[in-house]
Assembly symmetry: C2
Homo-oligomer: 191 residues x 2
């Protein structure tokens, strides 16, 4: 399959690592102590909170050249829980793509809660990873990793659709925070 | 229950009418030939395509005063299928609310395909109507109509969240148009 470097060690990083390993990919997780260690994989997942992304890009922009970079962030204002912190006509993923012109940036996993990724399901339904990006080969590579790991993947369109994916992630987080859904539920994709 | 006036006679109007009638509400549908007939219900559903809303507001703003007005539109650019036609920091529902300061405006049903409303389910899961609005009583009234009709309703927050509901509706339409999901599928809410 592929080799994934996952920057981050939290529950999303661990869940994505589990999916990739189950599907036969090799995985390396990078914690804060690994800041000096270069990434070498085909796919690099930025599995950190949105405010931590800028430093990673500053440190690793050269290493990320030529790689598929996966943005999983939900750029909420976590103080108010009432808005996103990115411009309304853009997205966190678009910002990352602008900062990494030599990388192929995908938005993925931000509409999946960690527990649903770890379980591979949302309630009784299989979990679906929505993937947006401008490079078809990059999307296919990530979709292959996801489906080999037992989940579904759906092509959500160009990287412009990251804006809608971030809106879904935002709304899903507010529904869970307000106890309208649980952290093992959320939006399932029925095909 | 309530009395609903539904402006529109298409598949969404019919599906919403069916839900309301099943739950014991009375319903009247208004077609184009009924433009001169006043609405009298507690709830008025604008079940028309987004470009048709402006004329209805111009004709009926006075009649809509004091009523719960439900916006179900997905304000897509249907030529490009690549953007919404409302400002990125706003929503169709916010525009309607601004035009109807004496009404209580809700966003609802725009994340449900007509077939899922008519069936009451998305695949194996019950269909959930996401409702956003600033008036708690108005949301409760509509949620009561929906749940009496056998579906689920979930409070998606203030009318500001209409922006995210419209993003979900937009993405769901693009997924169906690109055959990633069927018109009987889409986003199901797992609680």
């Amino acid at each position: 399959m592929a080799h994934l470097d996952i920057i981050g060690t939290g529950n999303m990083a661990q869940a994505i690592s589990g999916i990739a390993a189950k599907g036969g990919s090799t995985v390396e997780l990078f914690g804060r102590a690994d800041a000096g260690k270069p990434v070498t994989g085909d796919i690099v997942v930025l599995a950190v909170p949105h405010p931590a992304v800028a430093d990673i890009l500053a440190e690793r922009a050269d290493q990320l050249a030529g790689k598929v970079v996966v943005d999983i962030t939900n750029p909420l204002d976590f103080e108010t829980f009432d808005s996103l912190v990115v411009p309304s006509d853009s997205s966190a993923a678009a910002g990352i793509a602008a900062a990494l012109p030599r990388s192929r940036v995908l938005k993925a996993f931000n509409t999946n809660f960690a527990a649903t990724l770890a379980a591979g399901s949302v309630g009784e339904l299989p979990a679906t990873v929505l993937v947006a990006g401008d490079d078809a080969d990059a999307k296919s590579l990530l979709a292959g990793v996801v489906t080999a790991g037992g989940l579904r993947a759906a092509d959500a369109g160009s990287l412009e659709r990251a804006r809608e994916l971030e809106a879904i992630g935002f709304l899903q987080l507010t529904l869970a925070a307000n106890e309208k859904i649980s952290w093992t539920g959320g939006f399932a994709v029925v095909d």
